[in-house]
């Protein structure tokens, strides 16, 4: 009686296709049909190329700060692939690949980082929320969105993505706790990439796994190789089923790595070793998926070349479309503030326009 065990928990790690090409057929077969696997690979390649282009755009002053997704494509893509198209996808800013799979146009994401709110004016048909800049805050929205479908008796669930750093924020805790205690159909996916800007994972979570964060809420937790499309798909499928049938949340840690700088405003060489990056380059989700496809004779270098051309054409076209969109009219500052513009805001808008016109005229007169 005096000391007795009142709780025992275990956390498992799932890996299906590892960086050495090992593939676990028992778990993997049937998860992703071959044709889809090819498409998923192409989606990752396209996202990867966008990263390259965006980097250059930023460096040449054609875009603001941009966070590369490089190395982390698999997690959100697997989720978008496995989920229903009308499940909520509530992401942070390193989940382009999942969003594109869902149908979010590339130029929306570009426009966002080009400093234009219209990049977030995505169709509601995508069931994707806008990029969340304040870290850790979007998971609460996911809980609320999931709650709304439960309230309405809909089948729709919510899947939310966030980083290891985000799990340090109080809002993460509140979201997980709401979901667990109010029985909300949420899939929590933490992309543990070992860094939050320059801060190493141990400062965000010194526990042996990030997955065990979920134990605090009595959630089932799973750790997966986050660079393994199959393992990610496996985990999200499992968690989504639990959410859909039992209206209960689960927690998935996807172990991955950010191959690039935090954003274009960052220089990762200041704080991390190239050796570490090199190890992870070998674990790149693109690389292993391609090798797997090649092994299965579904891919070869001529297909690769053809695809690279296609991807380049597509991405370049999206960049062109995004760049051709002129800045919004200045009145847009005001026009989306409220459903109906309060008188005083209308007054500010109107007097501002007078002033801008006046100063433009003055500038012209001075010959600028």
């Amino acid at each position: 009686m005096p000391r007795k065990t009142v709780l025992k928990v275990e956390i498992e790690r799932v890996s299906i296709l590892d960086e050495h090409g090992n593939y676990d057929a028992a778990l993997g077969d049937g998860l992703i049909p071959d044709a889809d696997l090819v498409r998923l690979y192409e989606a990752m390649a396209s996202c990867r190329y966008l990263d390259e282009v965006a980097f250059k755009l930023q460096r040449s002053g054609r875009m603001g700060t941009y966070p590369q997704n490089m190395g982390q494509e698999a997690g959100s893509l697997a989720a978008a692939y496995v989920l229903d198209n009308e499940d909520w996808l509530v992401t942070c800013y390193r989940e382009n690949c999942g969003l594109f799979w869902r149908g979010v146009p590339m130029e929306s994401i570009l426009l966002h980082w080009m400093g234009d709110e219209r990049g977030n004016a995505m169709s509601r048909a995508h069931f994707a929320t806008p990029i969340a800049v304040p870290i850790g805050t979007q998971m609460l929205h996911a809980a609320g969105l999931a709650w709304a479908s439960k309230y309405r008796g809909e089948k729709r669930i919510a899947c939310t993505f966030f980083g290891d750093g985000a799990t340090s924020e109080g809002d993460f805790h509140e979201a997980a706790n709401f979901a667990a205690n109010l029985d909300l159909p949420v899939v929590f996916c933490c992309q543990n990439n070992f860094w939050a800007i320059s801060t190493p994972g141990s400062i965000q979570c010194s526990a042996p796994t990030v997955a065990q964060r979920g134990i605090a809420y009595g959630m089932p937790c799973l750790q997966v190789d986050g660079n393994d499309l199959f393992a990610c798909a496996y985990a999200v499928k499992w968690a989504a089923a639990r959410a859909r049938t039992e209206s209960k949340p689960s927690f998935i840690e996807m172990v991955t790595y950010r191959l690039g700088d935090h954003t274009t405003a960052d220089d990762a060489r200041r704080y991390r070793d190239q050796a570490e990056v090199d190890v992870w380059k070998e674990r790149d989700p693109l690389l292993r998926t391609r090798r797997h496809l090649e092994q299965k004779k579904l891919w070869n270098s001529s297909k690769e070349e053809a695809m690279q051309v296609r991807v380049k054409t597509e991405v370049d076209a999206a960049v062109k479309r995004a760049e051709e969109i002129p800045a919004p009219p200045v009145a847009d500052l005001f026009n989306s503030m409220y459903a109906e513009l309060p008188a005083q805001l209308a007054y500010q808008r109107d007097t501002m326009q007078t002033h801008s016109l006046a100063s433009e005229t003055a500038a012209k007169a001075e010959g600028h």
Binding site: E117, P134, A339
Partner: protein
């Protein structure tokens, strides 16, 4: 028509909006069986079930953050924050998300949210149970800020708030909760957000206030020998500047009264606006009777902090004698 206090008027408004619109759902700490610590939601969980009146975990950011999700999905959540002082943990979700979602997404997503918050001092409550943070949220674009001073107004304004397509912070002055009753129609009516009420007309001075302080102002008006026009703002953001301007142009003098601290309070905004709009009509500088630039004290001194009829009378005299 029923003779209701402010608590009952809000309870009635909630019942009627919930009956009318299945999208309206209530959430908050202790609002279910317990009916909220002020009993504003008394009986509602029994009536509408645990699905529509939800006791949440003790986490204000969670309450507002999930409400944002609920609202983005098209529901009309009406969360309660238990006391003014506990809006703090929810500040970030309110300002970084609720207030920004429409403009961030150019209207693709909106947040029709009504945050109910008991507000203000005068009820002998502990620390952080007596604050008046309306200026904070009036300085945060994207929100509307409402504070009724009477049961009738409370019902009509709450209905407007719930139906409003944008986020509204609905402050309920605790001191008024059970202070008096008045006739409140059972029938549906709304009071528009953004319109002030001229409580009584006058020609010599304009007295402006909102929430519980309106009652002190009425007392001062009654006691004063001057002809005072009393304006109850009802809505703090957006301000009904036309009503204010018309009044001060008529009276030439203005006193603003609020419980919140002096510096950067809403009184400053009104004073600045009155100066901008009525400069040539002003016979005296706008006077502010407010809480001080101090922490709202524990209750032994709270009446010394809150504007009272004497301080208001003093300001009226100062303005008149200028």
């Amino acid at each position: 028509m029923a003779n209701l206090n402010l608590v009952q008027a809000i309870n009635l408004a909630l019942i009627q909006e919930m009956e009318k619109d299945d999208r309206v759902i209530l959430l908050g700490e202790d609002i279910g069986l317990n009916g909220g610590v002020f009993r504003v939601t008394d009986g509602l969980q029994k009536r509408f079930g645990e699905r529509r009146v939800v006791d949440t975990p003790l986490a204000e950011s969670g309450i507002i953050g999930t409400s944002i999700g609920l609202a983005m999905a098209g529901l009309r959540p009406v969360p309660e924050i238990q006391f003014d002082g506990f809006l703090g943990p929810a500040y970030d979700q309110i300002c970084s998300h609720a207030a920004r979602m429409r403009t961030r997404t150019r209207g693709a997503y909106t947040v029709p949210l009504t945050i109910r918050v008991p507000v203000g001092g005068g009820i002998h409550a502990p620390e952080l149970h007596s604050d008046s943070p309306e200026a904070i949220y009036s300085h945060t674009p994207g929100l509307k800020v409402v504070m009724p001073s009477s049961p009738y107004d409370a019902k009509g304004l709450l209905v407007s708030a719930i139906r409003d397509p944008d986020p509204v912070i609905f402050f309920e002055p605790k001191r008024v909760y059970r202070a008096f009753r008045e006739e409140v129609p059972e029938d549906e009516y709304t009071i528009p957000i953004g319109k002030a009420r001229v409580v009584c007309e006058g020609t010599e001075l304009t007295l402006i206030s909102w929430g519980a302080s309106v009652i002190q102002c009425m007392e001062s008006v009654e006691k004063s020998s001057k002809s005072i026009e009393l304006i109850d703002l009802r809505t703090i953001y957006p301000l009904d500047l036309d009503t204010i301007e018309a009044s001060v142009k008529k009276t030439g003098r203005c006193v603003v009264v609020h419980e919140a601290p002096f510096t950067c309070g809403v009184g400053a905004e009104i004073a600045a606006q009155v100066m901008e709009r009525c400069f040539l009509h002003l016979e005296a500088p706008v006077q502010r009777v407010t809480g001080f630039d101090t922490i709202m004290p524990y209750y032994k001194l709270e009446l010394n902090y809150l504007p009272d009829a004497a301080r208001i009378a003093g300001a009226i005299d100062d303005a008149a004698a200028y």
